[in-house]
Amino acid sequence: MIEFRSVSKSFGDTRVVDDVSLTIPTGGITSLVGANGAGKSTLLSIAARLLPADRGRVLVDGLDVATTPGPVLARRLAVLRQENAMSVRLTVRELVAFGRFPHSGGRLTAEDHRLVDEAMAWFELDPLADRHLDQLSGGQRQRAYVAMVMCQGTDHVLLDEPLNNLDMRHAVQMMRMLRGMADELGRTVVLVVHDVNVASCYSDRIVALREGQLVAEGPTADLMTPELLRGVFDVEVEVHELAGRRIGVPWS
């Protein structure tokens, strides 16, 4: 469970996150949606302790992210940010194995190796295991990063725009893998996505933000309505039911 308690954050005079209180329950996939600059990534960065909140607290399983020692939190919460410009030349397997660092500090046990193998297999990375990251396509690299985060073995996984750089096929594949992480492995997955239909098709809950404030949160079906989407994105959206899924179609 991740709790945000009256979290605020400003950059200069701009209030990017404005008094957000929110509880993300254990299990399933929760998607943070909102227009550009709505504060989704900032909120995620605060939970990931990459940014300090100006006010308020974020608790992961009751542990305050601002005061809990880094290694302790790194065993409960894994985060992947949006831009991952990494110049380090590691092989895919080396990268994924670094996910075990919070547990074993670099000396991998047999159990660690097993979990690395599992993450590699889960994301279908075995054929690429000994390739260097700079020899991969953007989509393959993204998959390797997510595999590393999964390998960290945390109950909570926060991903900022995990579909970046992915074409349609790989985006669907990634979402299926994340769905599996939630359903089969019982992880709590929190995503920032800009495509509301991805959120609609793959997540259990949606959290909608606008100009730093929480607009609505709840089960996906309850939030996929024309009124709410208009309020969040400032554009007229029709919502159609297609094969049991709610799809938003913007028009102007």
């Binding site: 880094g70 065993r75 092989t91 670094f98 660092f101 919070p102 193998d117 297999a121 690429l128 960290q152």
Partner: protein, 344 residues
């Protein structure tokens, strides 16, 4: 699950075949490098103006034996210590600044050490080795800190521009050192101190260098944390690594090693840059794996430069700093051009 996976990777023969080949080469290369280093090291013990042959060593009163123990062995030890530590310092600095062209030799650190040596000489005279070292270490830390401070504020973070700024900074600092030295008539001695040269290494004058392997060992213990920090702050924080503390520790190690080596034997240009670049180009950036190889290669590089300098104009010597500068400079330019091509 795992058996299906294996079959899957077996179905794609090209990558897995490539992998197996690369791994085999890797092991053999390391063993070969070590063997070559040992042979070259033993050989270097018998290169020099006075004839010393292995047979002479059996006789303790022989003049050759004295030369061997007071000059040849200390010289070899100094070469191995300085070479390995400088290369490792370069490796650590390049991964922590996330720029493969940043090393103590291209960030101005070496020049700050030079300025420190001049200041120490003016303050304590030329005899106080400890005073010299203390002040050199302090200047080295200040210089690296200043460079990192600039780096964080730099708008142009182009991979080639960053080290050029460091080299410029070093130029300014070394000009200041030269001015001071000129005013106090130390110019010639400064040149002699700064240019890496092992000909002055005899027993009793190099023992300071025994401090640097300790720094290398600490660097090895922190290798994984340095690798994680090299991935960037986001990854480091996610993995529970205290980013700022680890980066600071690594840069302090690099600065202290640079100061001690320059005070001890002078500067070997490009060593900390060229060796880590060549090693990581071949083996990747996982520090735990490449750090030992970098240390061996750094020692070998300096040893080769020293032996070349000793034999090329026999019986005279060309300082290792000059030989290393020529060889290292050429490799540096090749690496720069490669990087440019890859970016473009």
């Amino acid at each position: 699950m795992s058996s299906t996976t294996e079959r899957r990777s077996g179905a794609a023969p090209a990558p897995s075949g490539q992998v197996r080949r690369r791994r085999g080469v890797r092991r053999r290369h390391v063993a070969a490098a070590l063997a070559a280093l040992v042979v070259a090291a033993l050989g270097s013990l018998f290169v020099g103006v006075s004839d010393v042959s292995p047979a002479d060593l059996l006789d303790a009163d022989e003049a050759g034996t004295r030369v061997f123990w007071t000059s040849r062995v200390p010289r070899l030890t100094a070469i191995l210590l300085a070479g390995s530590a400088t290369a490792v310092a370069g490796l650590v600095m390049m991964s922590l600044t996330r720029n493969r062209f940043v090393s103590p030799q291209t960030a101005g650190t070496t020049e700050w050490v030079g300025l420190g040596i001049v200041v120490a000489t003016l303050a304590f005279g030329s005899t106080s080795v400890l005073g010299k070292m203390g002040i050199a270490v302090a200047f080295s830390l200040v210089g690296t800190a200043l460079f990192v401070w600039l780096l964080q504020r730099m708008v142009l973070t182009d991979i080639v521009v960053v080290p050029l700024v460091g080299i410029l900074l070093g130029g300014v600092v070394s000009a200041a050192a030269a001015f001071l030295a000129y005013r106090f008539e130390l110019l010639q001695s400064v040149d002699a101190w700064m240019n890496g040269d092992f000909s002055g290494v005899v027993a009793g004058r190099y023992e300071l260098l025994w401090l640097v392997p300790a720094a290398t060992v600490v660097a090895y213990l922190y290798a994984d944390r340095f690798s994680v920090a090299g991935m960037g702050e986001g990854f480091a924080v996610n993995l529970g690594v205290p980013y700022t503390r680890v980066v600071t520790l690594g840069l302090v190690i690099a600065s202290v090693v640079t100061a001690i080596v320059v005070v001890g034997v002078g500067s070997i240009p490009f060593l900390g840059l060229v060796v880590p670049n060549l090693v990581t180009l071949a083996l990747g950036d996982n520090l735990r794996r490449v750090l030992p190889v970098t240390a061996v290669t750094g020692a070998a590089f300096v040893l080769v430069c020293d032996v070349v300098g000793r034999t090329i104009r026999y019986p005279y010597e060309i300082p290792v700093g000059t030989v290393g500068g020529v060889i290292g400079g050429v490799v540096f330019i090749v690496l720069l051009l490669r990087a440019r091509r890859r970016v473009a």
